[in-house]
């Protein structure tokens, strides 16, 4: 498999109301490209990070209202928590965490009444 075809199996989970943006699906088994082009060059690629996953998810899976998912600088909207394999993404490098096959990424929205 050439570099440009490699994909990673990523399990995406949505809760706290996030699932509404994804046709009410709480879990999506996605095949995400393993490599993404660098900003400056379409030929050079880097290993997929969460930053890439977020934009890929918005382009390929989001059914509506991207502004409710994506925030500033390509990150998630403020108020959305992200877990990587059951741990706070702040412990894993946040946007720069490099995805691995069979990773579980959870998006939890806190933007609702208590």
């Amino acid at each position: 498999m050439s570099q440009s075809d490699a994909t990673l199996r990523i399990e995406l989970q949505f809760s706290g109301g996030m699932e509404l943006l994804f046709d009410n699906q709480k879990t999506i088994h996605a095949k995400v490209p393993a490599f993404f082009p660098l900003d400056t060059s379409a030929e050079d690629k880097h290993a997929a990070t969460i930053r890439d996953l977020i934009s890929w998810t918005a382009s390929n899976l989001l059914k509506e209202r991207p502004e409710l998912f994506i925030g500033t600088d390509g990150s998630v909207r403020s108020g959305i928590l992200v877990l990587v394999n059951g741990a706070d993404w702040e412990l894993e490098g946040e946007l720069e965490y490099e995805l691995e096959d069979r990773d579980e990424i959870v998006f939890i929205s806190t933007l609702h009444g208590g």
């Binding site: 109301g17 509404l20 928590l81 929205s109 609702h112 009444g113 208590g114």
Partner: protein
């Protein structure tokens, strides 16, 4: 090793918990930056709330305590933790769930199902009080009548009174609500942005006893209210619920997108991204401002009496809720919104002079106003034609 099942088989233990050192950390605390494993996080979360309760002497043994329960993340975790701490530390409290049904289809009806599940899961009795029963109007009815601009004002006033009435029905001493640190920081910001000094003075208090009243006419009863989550971060509440697999309802109120609080919330989250101590700093500022407002407050305290319509504590003839209802029932949606003194005066004048035929007679009844003020006063009435046929207060 107990934590091994949380990690993928090929990974060594990384990010060990700062406290126990033996298990992988799953959370970075916003408050302290500590990395904690699941069990240590639970312990720290619960113990800090216990300390808040004890340090602030929130309860007495034997108190009957109603937990304001909406089925949302904060109140579900609050119910769970209150029960847990009550058992663990023998507070001796009688806990009850108190839920308000505002009558919002597609939002409240679903979340009430969650509260009923909480009742069964946590084995705490539940009382549901509805706007329709108390006031004759559900929020759906109200929004149909007045549109989406001031509906949150109605809902807030009605809910406050509904909680008190529910508490009276249950004969409780105390109501606890799930307001968290993020909420309080937002409220401080909102009150500063809106110049609402009386609210600013009260909003950082962990206990509100409140026989007092702010200048816009919000009345409260003698039932104590407190916020055990005052220092608890929203992120931790959500993570606690997630890791404990607690059942909660999570959708935005369908009428809320225009709410002012939304702006404060977005602003606060953006501030937090730049400076992680933003929340606790703002609460700190709020507490300092509160002392300052209190010292400078030169308005005299109003004398408390009872609403002539419903008997609720009030310093005006009509309590705020009755004033708002008056507006609804007479098709005067602005009644009770904004500064009420002028409108009350105008309303009373309109009632006195029943059978008005022109705006001129109305504005002359408000004798003290300037010409410009008279014009402003008249525009508060949605449909002048209604004034002529409006029944007086007595006939309602």
């Amino acid at each position: 090793m107990p934590g091994a099942t949380d990690t993928k088989p090929t990974k060594p233990l990384k990010n060990p918990c700062n406290l126990c050192q033996s298990v992988r950390a799953i959370l970075k605390r916003p408050k302290t930056g500590q990395q904690l494993c699941k069990e240590c996080f639970f312990h720290v979360f619960e113990t800090e709330i216990h300390n808040t309760i004890v340090d602030n002497k929130l309860f007495n043994k034997g108190d009957r305590v109603a937990i304001g329960a909406s089925g949302g993340k904060d109140s579900t975790v609050l119910a769970y933790v209150m029960k847990l701490l009550n058992d663990r530390y023998s507070y001796g409290l009688d806990l009850i769930l108190l839920s308000i049904d505002e009558g919002i289809t597609g939002y409240r009806d679903d979340s009430l199902e969650t509260v009923k599940r909480n009742r069964d899961q946590y084995q705490i009795p539940l009382l549901i009080v509805s706007y329709k029963d108390l006031y004759g109007w559900s929020m759906d009815d109200i929004v149909k009548e007045i549109g989406r601009k001031n509906n949150c004002t109605f809902c807030g006033v009605f809910r406050r009174q509904a909680l008190d009435r529910g508490a009276i029905m249950l004969n409780v001493d105390h109501i606890v609500t799930g307001h968290n640190a993020d909420d309080i920081a937002e409220t401080v910001l909102m009150n500063i942005l809106r110049g609402d000094l009386p609210r600013l003075q009260r909003c950082t208090s962990i206990i509100t006893n409140d026989t007092s009243e702010d200048s816009s006419g919000i009345e409260t009863s003698k039932i104590l209210r407190s916020k055990p989550f005052k220092y608890t971060y929203e992120k931790e509440i959500v993570m606690y619920a997630y890791f404990k697999k607690l059942d909660y309802f999570s959708t935005e109120c369908i009428y809320s997108p225009n709410a002012y609080r939304g702006h404060a919330r977005v602003f606060l989250k953006d501030l937090e991204a730049v400076r992680r101590t933003a929340i606790v700093d703002i609460i700190h500022s709020g507490e300092a401002l509160s002392a300052s407002v209190q010292a400078n407050e030169s308005t005299k305290l109003p004398t408390m009496a009872n609403c002539t319509r419903c008997g609720y504590i009030s310093s005006n003839e009509l309590c705020k809720a009755c004033l708002l209802l008056e507006g609804l029932n007479k098709g005067l949606p602005q009644l009770g919104i904004g500064h009420t003194t002028k409108i009350r005066r105008m309303h009373e004048a309109a009632n006195l002079a029943s059978g008005l035929s022109s705006p001129v007679s109305l504005s002359s009844a408000v004798a003290d106003g300037s010409a410009e003020e008279k014009v402003k006063v008249v525009t508060h009435i949605k449909d002048l034609g209604q004034l002529e046929t409006m029944p007086t207060l007595d006939s309602v």
